[in-house]
């Protein structure tokens, strides 16, 4: 579904990613782990069009998306959440959710301005979907609050909900449970698993190894910008090089 071929990225001559290649298969939950500064977020940026790789290719559903604009990639069904919060702080949670959903209805400005029945039905469907998502992600009580007034953890959950509003086929999650309460982590894990069973593919950066072990079918390990291991979670967990990179320093 997603093919990363020889992606290389340098910042001012400093290598951040070197010749990274791997494939995410349709229907799986893949994990991307590695120590702080190993290039995980840079790789996400290259895949989603926020950075142009210096070399290499990114192919999504047989289409070359290397260096396409982020919004185009999102329209193709590949969305992401960020490590740093990116919500509209002065809009309410529900307004944030609507904004995230509306981008993908293919409406034109003129048709959006007229309160036709079709628009009303679409809006209602969007609100229902938003309500369900907020419920599933454990933050149902905050719909009318300004997003900027939520705590860090709640904004993180809002971001996941916003990424899912577009009903994407592949979602890149950058540390989805950082700052989230352990009990809520359990229910989010369950929810992501259910979404996965319904057909959504995930690529997840996460430092919480328990979450990676419980969720991921396969794990890719980056260290200093290079892919040093890949395989099922238990195998990667026992790999000497991985242990050294992740726990040793």
């Amino acid at each position: 579904m997603l093919e990363i071929r020889g992606v290389t990225k340098h910042f001012l001559g400093v290598p951040a990613l070197h010749d990274v290649s791997f494939t995410v298969e349709r229907g799986e939950i893949a994990g991307l782990i590695g120590p702080n500064g190993s290039g995980k977020t840079t790789l996400f940026d290259c895949v989603t069009g926020f950075l142009a790789p210096d070399a290499g290719k990114v192919v999504f559903m047989d289409q070359d998306i290397t260096s396409l604009a982020p919004y185009r990639i999102a329209r193709l069904g590949l969305t992401r959440i960020f490590q740093q919060i990116r919500t509209f702080p002065r809009l309410t949670v529900m307004e944030n959710m609507r904004a995230a959903g509306q981008q993908h209805q293919g409406l034109r400005l003129t048709s959006g301005l007229l309160p036709t029945r079709r628009i009303r039905d679409l809006d209602r469907a969007l609100d229902d979907q938003a309500g369900d998502l907020l419920q599933s992600l454990g933050i149902p009580g905050v719909a009318d609050l300004a997003a900027g007034t939520l705590s860090y953890g709640q904004q993180k959950l809002l971001e996941i909900a916003m990424a899912l509003m577009a009903k994407p086929s592949l979602v890149l999650l950058d540390e989805p449970v950082a700052g989230v309460n352990p009990t809520l982590i359990e229910s989010i894990k369950g929810y992501l698993k259910r979404l996965n069973e319904l057909g959504t593919t995930f690529l997840i950066i996460e430092h919480n190894l328990q979450v990676v072990m419980d969720l991921c079918h396969r794990v890719f390990v980056l260290d200093s910008g290079e892919l040093i291991a890949q395989g099922p979670p238990f195998m990667v967990q026992e790999n000497e090089q991985v242990l050294e990179a992740y726990f040793g320093r």
Binding site: N36, T149, T183, R249
Partner: protein, 238 residues
Amino acid sequence: MSGDPVLEIVGLYAGYRNRGVLFDVSARILSGTITAVVGPNGAGKSTLLKAVAGLAECWKGSILFKGQDILGSEPGEILAMGISMVPQGRCNFPLMTVQENLEMGAYTRRDSAVHIDLDMMKERFPVLKSKKALLAGNLSGGEQQILEMAMALMLKPSLLLLDEPSLGLGPGPMRRVFQEVQRIAAEGTSVIMVEQNAKRALEISDQALVLDLGKVWMSGSGQEILANPQVKKRYLGG
């Protein structure tokens, strides 16, 4: 651990503008101890730290720091009295060097001992000494967290407030950050730490508060809270 509380919070109601977040919260923090604040997202944990630092609105109750009521004091005054805070997420100056960041930590100090303390701080955290000329933004996540704690310590606080020091850190750096927190407390600075890595935090804490919906749901020693089956189920992921 002495018997005198460095901080005593009594019946505190706090929040932002017209939104209440904390309701009737009380706590006693003894000097040289680590207190963990755990609970669900949106429970009011960060707000509790902000209230102590003078960054949230408080409507009722009192916050006694070394016996003096600091409720209503300006953040700058509270800082000068000896309460430092390291907010959630990255909070250094990424385009300044490590050395300059440490100097910024001492920004409000006007005494001549700053340079001695700068040298001491670099001895105390050798990683900061070896990387003093690097831009802070180029340090690893764990190193940046340690830098931020060192910046806060430049004011020689008697109380250090840490909002999720382990956020976004891998297992190795996380372990090292928690070790530093233990060392800071052992050297006499009391620490109040909000953490979602609740198990790890409780293991190293003398005392813990479980907040939920803005109220103290339970308090006790770190071990007691850790062993409580209700807490385990509701807040620690079973």
